[in-house]
Amino acid sequence: MNNILVIAPILLQLFAGTILLFFWTKTQIQKVLSILFSFLSLGLGIWLFLLTWKDGIQFTHAGNWAAPFGISFVADLLSATLVLIASISGLAVSIFSVGTMREERLKFGFFPIMHFLLMGLSGAFLAGDMFNLYVWFEVVIISSFVLLTLGSTKSQLEGAIKYVSLNLLASSLFLIGIGFVYGLTGSLNFADVAVKLSAISNRGIINVTAGIFLVSFGIKSAIFPMYFWLPASYHTPPPAVSAIFGGLLTKLGVYALVRTFTLMFGGDEFLGIMLSIIAALTILSGGLGALLQKNLSKAFGYLIICHIGFMVAGLGMFTEVAILGTVFYLFHDIIVKTNLFMVAGLVLKINGTQDISKLGGMYKSYPLISILLSIPLFSLVGIPPLSGFWPKIFLIQGGLASEDYFLIAFIVLGSFLTLWVVAKIWAEVFWKNAENLPVKASGLYFNQMSKANQSMVIIPIIFLSIVSLYIGFAAENIYVLSEKIAADLMNPQNYIETILGIKTILP
């Protein structure tokens, strides 16, 4: 259904970012405004989701130039849900930043850039045009560059160099891929490209192009063997930034993979096998990496990689139930990873370090907080019936259906490594007695903060934990939603017809 308001989530964030620019050094106003805008954006997200849920795909053609001529913005159920979840994460991070960010960073544009980043994410989720997606990707990466380097500390810069180089390489490859797609089809609109690509008989050339997209999005989603920038950089910025990165950035890559490989490049056997192998090795690399880390955030960073592997595994299996698993995992993962880095931030605030071997005694000194933190940790592990558990069922079912038994083995292995890492973190950070913690280099300890600030740190964690619990206990709802999305993704007919406004027959 044609609806100009599809782009409202993007415009709101653009507006938010711009307004915040005018309060450059007035951090108090920025804080209030940021939270306010995040609430509005959550409202818009809910509205768009409900609308899409009730009335099907919502879209608009910018400037009223019908597809494939103008740029389409499309909110199908997947996009709408992701916009909603991004706004949930965004709200949590916004509140968390108010509680934890240092004033200096706030005075150098943290909030505006954060809202621009969220704008880029919404834009990328809603884009129905390849080059437009590229442009949104660039918004996301330039904002992430700025957020990553804000403060220019030594480790931030060292991480940033790798992050920036590899992400620019990915963008370059994306552009090359767009060039090839345009050369083959003369079009950039997703739906139109899908139709025209399916008519091309020379599959070889399409598959090479698909390979280029795989690598470009692969770098962004941190899959094997392209994840290197992530462990190098994700633990270096302040926790609030890590939270938004960990929750949303890699998932944007996964979204792009899912979108392009279901709509345009799906069904190639070789790429399917490649994706399966990549998935297995991604799970392995992430799990193994997390096993030995002494830095809490860095361990979580490796766990991101491990779980990206789960999602890619579903894509590699390429059956409806496997895609269902991927989508379900995607939703769960955004929430839980955002929360996880906030947890790491809180641990840092309380103890002044993230070194697992030195940390300890949280359970003794902060029992209630510890119990709260156990929710995201155990959701991550997928202790049933928490949120991480359900998608695994579908992934295993998908593996059975497509006879990718080794992937099932790797999923079991990945889950076990996650369990082990989290249990060890629990034993070390929460159970063990702390010994000679180093003195915090800068900022206040948690117990020196004002009550208001303390609650700004705790509330977003509670908020996302509740969302996680909801995903776990009301799995029925998420299942029905994901099932519908998976069905739509595997049968893109409806998407194409709605956007192009014509009946087409895909072979």
Binding site: E138, K154, L157, K162, S165, L168, L169, Y182, S233, K294
Partner: protein
């Protein structure tokens, strides 16, 4: 002529990647710029080459009478160039800051965030 352009595109990509494989931060940027140029030229070529007929309507005409160059790749490249500039200038400032803070250009000395397992 197209063949020559294709060779240049190949060369730009090869050169860009070669530079990305160097240890100097400075060379990384050079590599990224070369790659960007290569990608732009690639899109341009795949929009097919037309000589001497820019996609501009002559005065008085309402539609094109003769052939014209494909305008869409041009618009896309234009956007890509500008965006690329934004990113490149940020990267340039970044390496300058890195040099200021860490006092080295050698990437091999910048791996502490990876090493602490």
């Amino acid at each position: 002529m197209e063949i020559l352009l294709i060779i240049i595109i190949g060369l730009l990509h090869a050169g860009g990647l070669y530079m990305l494989l160097r240890r100097s931060m400075f060379k990384i940027i050079i590599g990224l710029i070369l790659l960007g140029n290569g990608a732009n030229l690639l899109i341009f070529l795949l929009g097919r080459l037309v000589k001497g007929h820019p996609p501009v309507l002559p005065d008085g005409a309402k539609i094109f009478a003769e052939i014209y160059a494909d305008p869409l790749p041009q618009a896309v490249i234009l956007t890509a160039i500008v965006i690329g500039f934004g990113l490149q200038s940020f990267a340039i400032i970044l390496i300058k800051t890195v040099f200021k803070v860490l006092e080295t250009d050698d990437l091999d000395e910048l791996n502490s965030t990876d090493e602490e397992i």
